[in-house]
Structures are given as structure tokens and as C-alpha cells.
Amino acid sequence: MGRWIPDRTTLFLLAVVIVLAGLAWMQGGLPAVVDGISSGANELLRVTPMLLAAFLVAGLTQVLVSREVIERWLGSGAGWSGILLACLGGALIPGGPYVYYPIAGALLGSGAGLGVLVAFISAKNLWSITRLPYEFALLGARLTLIRYAVTFLLPPLFGLVAEAVFGSKIDSIRGAMR
């Protein structure tokens, strides 16, 4: 994520920085403005070694995981095994929403089951391997571990529930794609 609208995000963050700098100015004048920047710089320097490693891990993951394999898994049918493979595919597929939504859309169009697609997207959201290094580096081990532990069962569960409850409605769901 982030890559797909760098300009809008950058502008938004810049606006936030300006507002916060203004608030700091009102509270403590120029020293407070400088304080904020130096405190942020210190924090960034502190996590730099970890971030460098995280970017390397993310880059290598993208190269080592092949998109063809993931697409084959997603086409492997519904039911338990199909949903679990879809979860694995979602966890491993690198890239932002501009990568996995077109794939999911193509699969929905070509007949993939509802549970498989829900499991795939939920696993991308909750199990993402490429996001894990950043989460670990920036949020710390404790928050990351709790987060993964609590959400671990959700992607397959969401897939199974979607398939069981709405699986028979797949044609009208497909029809809403335009």
C-alpha cells in the first residue's frame, strides 16, 4: 500500500506536519517546533537498522514468492483445502491493493468460489508476510504477536462462513461486478 497514491498521501502528511508545527509554535515558539523535528529524527534513527533489514526482507519476499503459484492455488477449488490454500496465497502475495484486487477480480470473473476469494483477501489483510517486517520493526514485538495471535483463525473462518452462508448467491455477487 502507499505506493499507489504517493502524492496524495505525501500531501496529506505534509499538511498534518504543518498543522502540528503550528500548534507547537503556539505552545512554545520556535524551540518547540525544532523539538518536534529533532524528536522525530531521533526516533527514526533509532529504528533505522531495523527498517533497513525490514525493507530487505520485504524485497526478498517479493522475489522469492511467485505470482503464478499463488494464482494456481486460488483456482484449486472450494472447500477446506481450497480455502486454506487461498489463505496461504493471500499471506504470501506481495504488493498493494492495485496488485491483489485485479487478481481477485479476474478469479471471480473466471469462476472462483466466494469462500476462496473472501479467504484470500482476508488473509492478505491479516496474515500478510510482506507487511510483517514493518509491523515488527515499527510497532514492536509485543503488539505484533498479540495482533497475529488474535486474528490468526479469522481468514479461513471468514472464507468458510462466506461460502456456507452466501456461496449459493455467487451468481448475483458476480453480477454486481458490472
Binding site: 500500500m1 498521501t9 524528536s39 519476499t61 520493526a137 495482533r147 488474535v150 486474528t151
Partner: protein
């Protein structure tokens, strides 16, 4: 922090070693890709960390605490979910901001709810989902997805101290 850094470096070296052992250019391509991502996201990272710095200096700890503090309860979890949906950008922007809020007094429940809500329900991501999968699919996926931050937030609030 030092342990986490060490773990991350060991993982990076392990993956790099594995990529090297494949008889192709995986290691080099992966390193280049990581480096390019870093260069592209550096402006965002710097801005995000300036914001982190201001959140620390302005220390609106009372505000943070009363909105999403450990005692903000279910309301705090809901605010966390809403904030997560609105957070823009990728992990390198969102995670430092959430970490800054957490260190300024946000409770575990609202913090976890914010992370998961951003992962599963971010409005900017939904705007990609709609055109590719259709509104029926999105409505179904989002109504299931809403359980994720609720569950995490409630567990963080009710069962885990800190």
C-alpha cells in the same frame, strides 16, 4: 528493541542466504527491490516520523487517554476502528503513527483495533475493491471484516493488561 533488531537482521540474512543459494539472480533482485521501495518511501517515512516527533512533544496525553486510553472501554475500541479506517498510506506511514499514539497513552484494545481496522477496512483500499469485485462482494467482505478489529479490540481491552 535490540533483540527485535537482531531478530530482523538474522531473518534478512537468512533469506538473503537462501536467495543466494538459488542459481538465479534472486538475491540481487530482492535487494534492489527493497532498496527501491526504501528510496520511494523515504519522503513518507521522514514526514511520518516528524509527525511522531510532534505527537511526542505536544504530548496531548490527556486527550489521547480520554479518547482511546486504557479506560476508554468499548467507545475507545470504536474510535480506534474509525481512526483505522481513515488512516492513509502504507505500513511505513501508519505503523509509526499508531506506535506514537500507543506510547502517548492509547490503550491496548483501541491500538490493536486501529491496526486491524486499517488492515481490513481502510477506506482507500475499499475504493480499489469496489471496481474490481463489485459492491455485493465488498458489502459481504466488509461486514465479515468488521468482526476482526472488534474482536481484537475487545480482547485487547478486556483480557490483556497494558
Amino acid at each position: 528493541m535490540i533483540e527485535s533488531t537482531a531478530i530482523m537482521i538474522v531473518i534478512a540474512l537468512g533469506m538473503w542466504g537462501y536467495a543466494r543459494s538459488r542459481s538465479d539472480d534472486s538475491a540481487q533482485r530482492g535487494t534492489t527491490l527493497g532498496w527501491q521501495t526504501l528510496k520511494r518511501t523515504l519522503p513518507l517515512l521522514i514526514l511520518a516520523f516528524v509527525i511522531v516527533g510532534y505527537v511526542k512533544v505536544l504530548a496531548p496525553q490527556d486527550t489521547v487517554r480520554s479518547w482511546i486510553g486504557p479506560d476508554s472501554g468499548f467507545r475507545g475500541v470504536l474510535i480506534g476502528i474509525l481512526a483505522g479506517m481513515l488512516l492513509p498510506g502504507g505500513p511505513y506511514v501508519v505503523f509509526p503513527l499508531v506506535a506514537a499514539l500507543y506510547h502517548s497513552g492509547a490503550g491496548l484494545g483501541p491500538t490493536l483495533a486501529m491496526i486491524v481496522s486499517w488492515s481490513a477496512l481502510a477506506l482507500l483500499t475499499i475504493s480499489f475493491e469496489l471496481p474490481f469485485l463489485g459492491w455485493r462482494f465488498s458489502v459481504l467482505r466488509l461486514s465479515l471484516g468488521l468482526f476482526a478489529p472488534l474482536l481484537v479490540g475487545l480482547i485487547g481491552w478486556l483480557f490483556i493488561v497494558g
